[in-house]
Subunit: 884 residues, 2 copies
C-alpha cells in the first residue's frame, strides 16, 4: 500500500524525518543483536564446512593445491566486507555504465546526423527527420520512465541531498529506478536536446551503491549497517560526478557541496578513491576503444602555458563572473517560473496530466524546430551537438578577425559558428539567448536529465563572447612591454563555463571540474575569481537550482542559513519554540492518552514524570501510543474480560454450559460491520508471540518496514469499538474469521462503550512501549545558528527545550524553517530579532495546515462520537460496503 | 597565574574540553544579553550623534556633500561587520605577510650564498661561513621564540586541529605568538635548513584571524561570537595554505583534511573566498615586484600537453605511490623516534633543558656540515636551496643520458646535480637518504617550522629517481605505435612529491596542491592513484605527522576511527561506559556535596532528582559546587551567624555593648594563620553585588577567563575553616584586612568545626548555581561508531547514558579514546567485541593517573582532617610564611 502511494509520487506520505533517532535506538539494537546472532551462525557454519572440506580434500590427490585455492577463496570472501572492494566495484561498474551510456548517446546522435545528412535533397523531409527523431526519443524516455519508475524523473541531486540529510526515500533506490534512469537518460540525451547527464549520474551512482550494498550483504553483515550505507551513498555521489566528467577531484568536491551540510572528513578518502578509480576506468575504456591515444582530459584545451593571461584582463573575467551570477539566478528563476506557470494554469495542467507524453513532445518539437540547421538553427550553430559546441567554444584560436589580412579558418565543426551574412558575435549572442530559455524549458520535461551541462555550454559561449570582444578590442593583446601575447578567447570560455555553472548550482567546485575537464589549470585565478563572484551574486538572488527543485517538489529539507545574517546569532530558541507541548505522564490514564492523540500533530510525544514536575523522561512515537490504546481497548482484552466474567459467573452459578458455536459465529458476523482493523497502526507492538518484551528503551519511526518473516498480527476482526474508531477509521478487513478464543463476544454496543469507558480510566502500562530515552534537548537560550547547526548535524526532526529537566517547549523542523526563512528575509543587523514577537503568541496553535486538517478530522469524529454513542448507520454502511 | 602555567607549556593544566556546552549555556546567554545592551546603547548613541551632525551640517555650506560623505562612511562602517570584509582583510594581510616572509627568506639565503661565494679562496673560511650563518639564525630563532612565546614553536597545525575541535588554547592566538612565529619562521627558513613554511602559515593565518577579529569587534559586536570565530579560524587555515603555495583550492582542501573532523559546507565559500583572494594578492605582489611577467604557478612546469604519459607507465606511478606510503610512515616514525629518544635519555634531556639553545645549534651544525658543497654536499646537490632543488627536480627534460650522442646540458642550477665522477642516480639517492633523516631531525628543533615542504622535495627527488630510471630503461618511450613520446621524469617528480607529502600528512589534497603549484593538471590520474595508494599504505602503518605530534604533545584530541574496522559498529556504549557515576541529588545536603567532591574526578557532576528515581536533571560544574560549599562554610555566613547569635544575645540581655575594635583585630590577626583563601575556585560564583541571580540554567567551564571589569570577590581573609581547607589548600593571601561587618569573628577553632558540621547537614540550595540543563545523553545501545561521530560533531567532553530519564552511566572522551585505540589495535571482524569484557569490570575505578592523584591528595587531606580536627601547626606555619 505504501508502495502504491509512492508510485503516485505523493512525497508527503512517503517521507519522514527522524531516521537518526530511530537508529540510535531500536534500529541499532536490533541490528546489533542480529549481527551477533548471524555472526555466530555464520562462524559455526563455516567451521563445520571447513572441517568437512579438509576431510574431503585430504583424500584427493592435489590436495595441497586445492586447499590453497579454497583458502585463497575464503580470504577473498572475507575481504569482500572491506570498504575498498566495494568502492572499486562501484567505481568499475559506474565507469562501465557511464561509458556505455556515452557510447549509446553518441550512436543516437550520429544516427540523427546521418538521417539528416541523407535527406539533404528535400528540406521538408530533412525537417521531419530532424524533428521526429528527438520527439520520438524523448516521448519514449518520458513514457518509459513514467511506467517503470516515476522516481527516475529529473536530476536526482535534490533527492540525494534529502536522502543524505537522513530522510528515507526508499523507492528512490530500487533496481527499477536504476533501469528507468539509465535507459531514460540515454534516450533523452540521445535526442540532442539541451540536457545534461551529471545530475542523473549522481542518482545512478547512488542507485548502484544501494544495489551493490544489497548484493554484497550476501557476503557480510556489515553491509546492512545504516550509517555505513549513508557513507557509501556519499561516496557514490562523488563517483557519479567523477565518472561523468572524468573529474575525480571536482566530482568529490561538487558532490560534497551539493549534497552535504556537514561533511565527515573521514569519508573523504572513500569519495576520492572511488571517483579516481571510476574516472580512470572511464578514460581507459576510451583508450581501449581507440578513441584516444592515452588518458587525457575530456575536453582538452591547448592554451599557451607561459603567459596564460595578462593581469589587466582580470576585470573582464570579473565581469564574466558577475554577469554569470545574474544569469545563473535568472536561469533558476526561469526554470521555476515555467514549472509554476504550468502548475497554476489549471486547464493546461489538467489536460497535460491526462496526456502526460504531450508536454515532452511539444517542448521537444519547439526546441528542435528552432535548432533546425537550414532554418533558424543556422544562426545559432544548431547543427552542433552539445559536446561539439563545447569543444569548439574552448578552441584556443581567435574567431574574430585579427586586423584584415588574417581571418580564422573555420574548419570542421567550427564552421557551424561561421555564417556568411552574419557576424560571429551575433551567432554567439543568439546561441546564448536561445539555449538559455531552451535549457530552462527542457529541464522541466519529465525525463531523467540534468541541467549542469547545458548551463556549462551556455556559460562557455558567454565567456567566448566576452573573449572574442576583448580580442577584437585589443588585437595585439594588452601586455605592453616585450612580446605580443594575443588574447585567448578560449580561456574566457573556460571562465564563463565555470562561472555560470557555479552560479546555477551555488558551488565553487565547478572551477575544479573545469580544470579537470580541460586538462589545464593555467587560468586558475581568473576562474576562481569569476566563480566566487558569480556565487556571491547568485546566492544573494536565488536559491540554487537543486534547492529550487527541492522547494518545488516540497521535499523535506532544512534551508541553509544565509550569508552573514547577523540576527541568526541573536534569535534564540525561546523565540521560536512552541510552548504548548503535547505530553503524557508516567502515571496518566488511557483517557489522557486518547485525548492527547486526538489533539497533537507531532509524530512523537514527550513523556514526563508528572505534570507537576514536568521532568522530561523521553519521547514516545505516536504510533506506539495508538498501539497501546488499541491494545487496551482491543478485542483480545475484551474477550479476556468476558472470559474472566464468565469464570466468575461460572463460579457463582457452579454450572457449565457450552454456548452453541453456530450462534456465536452468527453474532460475530452480525457485528462485523462495526469492526475496524487496527492492523495498520498497531502491528509494530501488538504482542505476537515472536515479540520479545523489549527493555523499555527505544523509539521507532512511524513508517516501519515490516520484515517479511514476522507474521501479521491476527486481529483482522478486532472489535475495537467506539473509541478506537475515532483514531483508526480505515479500510476494515474482514476476510479471516478464525477465532481461538473460547468465549463469545456477546457484548452489545452499549456494553462495549461502557467497558471502554472503564478501560480508559485505567492507568497506562508503558512496559511494552518503546520509549526513546534520550530525545535531543536544547536550552531556551540556544541561538538559532546553533540550533540550525545541531539539527543539520544530527538530522533531527524535533528537539525538546528543557530547563533543568523540566520540559518547557519543543522546536521542530517546521518552526526552524519558518524562523530561518523569516530571518533571511530581513536584512541588516537587528537588535531585537524579528521573531521575538513570536515569544508570546507562539503558544497559540501554529500547526501546519496539513496536521491541522488531520487534527480537525479527528475532532469531528470525536464530536460525532460524543453526540451519538449508539450504533451509527453511516459508519456501519461504510464498512459494509467494503466488507462485501 | 593561569598565564604562567601556560607559558611553561603545561598543556594539561591550561586545556579543557566542553567549550560547546558552555557556549550553549551561560556563554550564549551572557553574550546575547550583552549584545542587546550594547546594540541598544550604540543605537542611541548613533542616533543622538546623527541628529547633532545633521543640525551642524545644515548650517554648513556644502552640507549635502558632507552628509553624503558621512552616510557613505556610516554605510561602510555598517558593512565592516560583514564576513567578506573580514575575509578580504585577512586574505590581504596574509598575502602581504607571506610575501614579506618569502622576500626576507630569499634575502637571507642570498646573503649566505654571497658569503659563501666571496670566500671561495679559503675552504675553511668558506666552511665556517656556511656553517655559522645557519647556526646563528636558528639559535636566534629558537631563543627569540623561547623568550617571547614558546607556543609559536613547531608547525601549529596540531594545535589548530585541537582548537577547531573546540578546545580552548587561548595563549595560542595572541599577538606575541604572532610576532614570535613570523620572525622565528623567517629566521629558521632563512638558514637554509630543510624546514617548511606551510604549517606555521596555517598558525599565522589563524593568529591573524583571531587578532583581526578582536580588532574588528571595535566596530561590530558580532565579532565576539564564539561559533563565528571558529568558522573564521577554519577559513584562516585555508588562507594559510593558500597564500603559502598560491594554491587556493588545495589550501582549502588541505586545511579541511588536516584540521576538521566534520566540515560545515556552509563555511566552504569562506575558505575559498579568502584563500583565492590571498593567493591572488600574493602572486600580484610578485608581478608588481617584477619577479614575474604575469600571474602563474609558483613552480611552473612545461610538460607536453598532448601526450603527458603512456598508459603503460601507470605501474611505475603506482610503485611510486606505494613506496611513498612506506616512506611517509617511516618519516613519521623517525620523527617521533627522535623526539622520544631525546626525551627518554634523562641525562641528555636534563642537559638540553638547561641549555635550550644547544640542541638547535648542534642539529644545525650537523646538517649544514653535511651539506657543505665542497664537502659531502657535492654528492647531494647541497648547494641548492629548497626552492631551487624543487625547480630543477620538476624540469621537463631528462637528465639521464639518452643513448650516447645527446646528453643533457646541465645549465644553471641543474649543474648541482651533475657530479663529474658520480652518476646522477647516485646523487639522487644520496639526496633522498640524507634529506630524509635531516628533515626528520630538523623538524624536531624548537623553532617555528613545518615539515611539508622538505617532504615535498624529498618526494619529488624520489619521483625523479624513478622517472630517470624509467627514461634510462625506455630511452624511446613506451608508446609503441606512431610518434615517439619520450618519458618525462619531471612528471614522475610531480607524482612523487604529491605521494610522499600525502603519505606524511594523510591527505589526498596534496594532489591538488601539486597541480596548483606546477600549473599543470595533465598528470591528474597518476597523481591521484599514487596519492591514494600512498595514503592507504601510510594510514595503515602510522598516524599522520600531525596526529603523531598531537600524541607527543599530549594535546586533547579524539583519534579517528580506523579504516573499515567493522567491530566499531558492534561495540556499544554500555561496553565502555563507567557505571559508577558521581552524582548529587536535588535534595542532598552539603555533606554529600563535600563527599562527592572529594572522590570524583570528572569536571562536571550529574544532578539527579533523587537517588531513588535516578532521573537526570542536568549537570553542574565541579567549580560551581566548590563555590556553593565555600559559600556555605565561608566567613560571611559565619559572621552572619554570629551576628544573629549576637542579636539573640542582645535581645536576651537587653544590653548593648561595643566590643573593642582593637581586641577584635588582634584576634583576627591571631587567626590569620589558619585562614585559606578560597578565591581561586570561588570567584565565579561568590555573590558579589554585581552578580545578578541567574535563572538556574547554565554551565560554566572550570577555567573561566575572568573579565577584567568584574571586581575580585573580597574574601581574602575568609575564615573558611577546616572542611574547606581540604578542598582548597592553596596560596593564602592575607594582605587586606578591611572588614565591614559589625560583628567580630571570635569563634574558636573548635567552635568553627562544630559550626561547620552543622552547616554540612543543611540541604543544598541550588538557586545561585549554574546548572547545565541539557547535558548530552546517549542510549546504552548506541554504537561506538555513532558515539564517536556525536562526540566529534558536537565537540563533547562527556555524555551521560540514560534509560528513560534514569542515569545509568557516563562516557567521557577518555573511555572513548581507550575504546577506539583498543578497537583499532585489533584486526579483522570480531563477533564479540574486545571491549565487551569491560562491561562488568568497568565499574571499578578506571580513572587516569592524573585525576587519581588529585583524588588521592584530597583523600589524604580528608584523612588528616579526620585524625586531627584541632589546629594544625604545619598548615598554619605555611600560611604564616606567606603572610609575612
Amino acid at each position: 500500500m505504501a508502495r502504491d502511494d509512492q508510485r503516485a509520487l505523493q512525497y508527503e506520505q512517503t517521507l519522514m524525518y527522524g531516521r537518526y533517532t530511530q537508529e540510535l535506538g531500536a534500529y541499532a539494537k536490533e541490528e546489533a543483536a542480529r549481527l551477533r546472532e548471524e555472526g555466530g551462525w555464520r562462524r559455526s557454519v563455516t567451521e563445520r564446512s571447513r572441517s568437512l572440506e579438509l576431510l574431503e580434500y585430504d583424500r584427493g590427490r592435489c590436495a595441497k593445491c586445492r586447499i590453497c585455492t579454497v583458502r585463497c577463496q575464503k580470504f577473498l570472501i572475507s575481504r569482500v566486507g572491506e570498504d575498498w572492494i566495494f568502492l572499486i566495484l562501484l567505481g568499475l561498474f559506474m565507469a562501465l555504465v557511464s561509458w556505455v551510456v556515452d557510447f549509446a548517446i553518441a550512436i543516437c546522435l550520429q544516427a540523427q546526423k546521418w538521417m539528416y545528412g541523407g535527406l539533404e535533397s528535400n528540406v521538408f523531409l530533412q525537417y521531419l527527420a530532424w524533428v521526429t527523431y528527438p520527439v520520438v526519443l524523448i516521448t519514449f524516455s518520458a513514457g518509459f520512465t513514467q511506467i517503470l519508475a516515476p522516481q527516475a524523473v529529473g536530476s536526482g541531486i535534490p533527492e540525494m541531498k534529502t536522502i543524505l540529510r537522513g530522510v528515507v526515500l526508499k523507492e528512490y533506490l530500487t533496481f527499477k529506478t536504476f533501469v528507468a534512469k539509465v535507459i531514460g537518460l540515454t534516450c533523452a540525451l540521445g535526442s540532442g536536446m539541451p540536457l545534461g547527464k551529471e545530475g542523473p549520474f549522481v542518482h545512478i551512482a547512488s542507485l548502484c551503491a544501494a544495489l551493490l550494498s544489497k548484493f554484497m550483504s550476501l557476503f557480510g553483515g556489515i553491509y546492512e549497517n545504516e550509517s555505513r550505507n549513508i557513507e557509501m551513498l556519499a561516496a557514490a555521489c562523488a563517483v557519479g560526478v567523477g565518472c561523468c566528467f572524468a573529474a575525480p577531484i571536482g566530482g568529490v568536491l561538487f558532490s560534497i557541496e551539493v549534497t552535504s551540510t556537514f561533511f565527515a572528513v573521514r569519508n573523504y578518502w572513500r569519495g576520492f578513491f572511488a571517483a579516481t578509480f571510476s574516472a580512470f576506468i572511464f578514460r581507459v575504456l576510451a583508450v581501449w576503444n581507440r578513441d584516444e591515444e592515452t588518458i587525457t582530459a575530456l575536453f582538452k584545451t591547448r592554451f599557451r602555458l607561459d603567459f596564460p593571461f595578462d593581469l589587466q584582463e582580470l576585470p573582464a573575467f570579473a565581469v564574466i563572473g558577475i554577469a554569470s551570477g545574474f544569469g545563473g539566478a535568472l536561469f533558476v528563476y526561469l526554470n521555476r517560473l515555467i514549472v509554476q506557470f504550468i502548475r497554476k494554469q489549471k486547464t493546461i495542467n489538467k489536460f497535460l496530466m491526462k496526456k502526460r507524453l504531450l508536454y515532452p513532445a511539444l517542448v521537444t518539437l519547439l526546441v528542435s524546430t528552432l535548432t533546425f540547421p537550414p532554418g533558424f538553427g543556422q544562426f545559432m550553430a544548431g547543427k552542433l551537438t552539445q559536446k561539439e559546441s563545447l569543444v569548439t567554444l574552448l578552441d584556443n584560436r581567435t574567431w574574430a578577425k585579427q586586423g584584415i589580412a588574417e581571418g580564422f579558418d573555420y574548419i570542421g565543426n567550427s564552421q557551424a559558428w561561421n555564417h556568411p551574412q552574419v557576424n560571429v558575435f551575433v551567432t554567439l549572442v543568439l546561441f546564448i539567448v536561445m539555449k538559455f530559455w531552451m535549457s530552462a524549458l527542457a529541464t522541466t520535461i519529465p525525463v531523467p536529465c540534468g541541467a549542469f551541462m547545458p548551463v556549462f555550454v551556455i556559460g562557455a559561449a558567454f565567456g567566448r563572447l566576452v573573449g572574442e570582444s576583448m580580442a577584437a578590442w585589443f588585437p595585439d593583446g594588452i601586455h605592453s612591454d616585450g612580446t605580443i601575447y594575443p588574447i585567448v578567447p578560449g580561456g574566457y570560455a573556460v571562465v564563463g563555463a565555470a562561472a555560470l555553472s557555479g552560479a546555477v548550482t551555488h558551488t565553487v567546485s565547478t572551477a575544479v571540474i573545469v580544470f579537470e575537464l580541460t586538462g589545464q589549470i593555467s587560468h586558475i585565478l581568473p576562474v576562481m575569481i569569476a566563480v566566487i563572484l558569480a556565487n556571491a551574486v547568485a546566492q544573494s538572488l536565488q536559491p540554487s537550482l537543486y534547492d529550487s527543485i527541492i522547494r518545488i517538489k516540497k521535499l523535506p529539507y532544512l534551508p541553509e542559513l544565509g550569508w552573514g545574517h547577523h540576527e541568526k546569532y541573536n534569535i534564540r530558541v525561546e523565540d521560536i519554540m512552541i510552548r504548548d507541548v503535547m505530553y503524557i505522564t508516567l502515571n496518566c490514564c488511557y483517557r489522557d492518552l486518547h485525548d492527547v492523540l486526538l489533539t497533537g500533530h507531532l509524530k512523537t510525544l514527550a513523556l514526563l514524570e508528572s505534570s507537576e514536575s514536568m521532568i522530561l523522561l523521553g519521547s514516545i512515537e505516536r504510533v506506539q501510543l495508538q498501539a497501546l490504546l488499541s491494545l487496551q481497548l482491543g478485542r483480545p482484552r475484551r474477550l479476556e474480560y468476558l472470559r474472566d466474567r464468565a469464570t466468575a459467573e461460572k463460579k457463582r452459578l457452579s454450572m457449565v454450559s457450552h454456548p452453541g458455536s453456530e450462534d456465536g459465529s452468527q453474532r460475530v458476523n452480525q457485528e462485523v460491520r462495526f469492526q475496524i482493523s487496527t492492523e495498520e497502526s498497531s502491528f509494530s507492538s501488538t504482542p505476537t508471540p515472536s515479540m520479545k518484551p523489549l527493555k523499555p528503551a527505544l523509539k521507532r519511526s512511524s513508517v516501519v518496514d515490516r520484515p517479511p518473516d514476522i507474521p501479521m498480527p491476527t486481529s483482522p476482526q478486532d472489535h475495537s469499538g467506539n473509541t478506537l474508531k475515532n483514531l483508526f477509521c480505515v479500510n476494515p478487513e474482514t476476510e479471516g474469521l478464525e477465532d481461538d478464543f473460547d468465549v463469545d463476544d456477546d457484548m452489545t454496543i452499549r456494553e462495549i462503550a461502557e467497558w471502554e469507558e472503564n478501560q480508559l480510566d485505567e492507568q497506562v502500562n508503558f512496559d511494552n512501549c518503546k520509549i526513546d530515552p534520550a530525545p535531543f534537548q536544547l536550552v531556551e537560550r540556544t541561538s538559532l545558528h546553533k540550533t540550525h547547526t545541531i539539527f543539520s548535524l544530527l538530522g533531527l526532526d524535533h528537539a525538546y527545550v528543557t530547563s533543568i529537566g523540566r520540559l518547557i517547549g519543543v522546536v521542530s523542523l517546521k518552526e526552524l524553517r519558518k524562523a530561518i526563512e523569516g530571518s533571511v528575509a530581513v536584512k541588516g543587523v537587528k537588535v531585537r530579532p524579528p521573531l521575538s514577537s513570536f515569544r508570546d503568541s507562539g503558544t497559540s496553535g501554529s500547526s501546519s495546515s496539513n496536521s491541522e486538517n488531520e487534527a480537525t478530522e479527528l475532532h469531528k469524529l470525536w464530536d460525532r462520537h460524543k453526540s451519538m454513542s449508539l450504533p451509527r448507520e453511516h459508519l456501519a454502511s461504510d464498512s459494509d460496503e467494503k466488507s462485501q
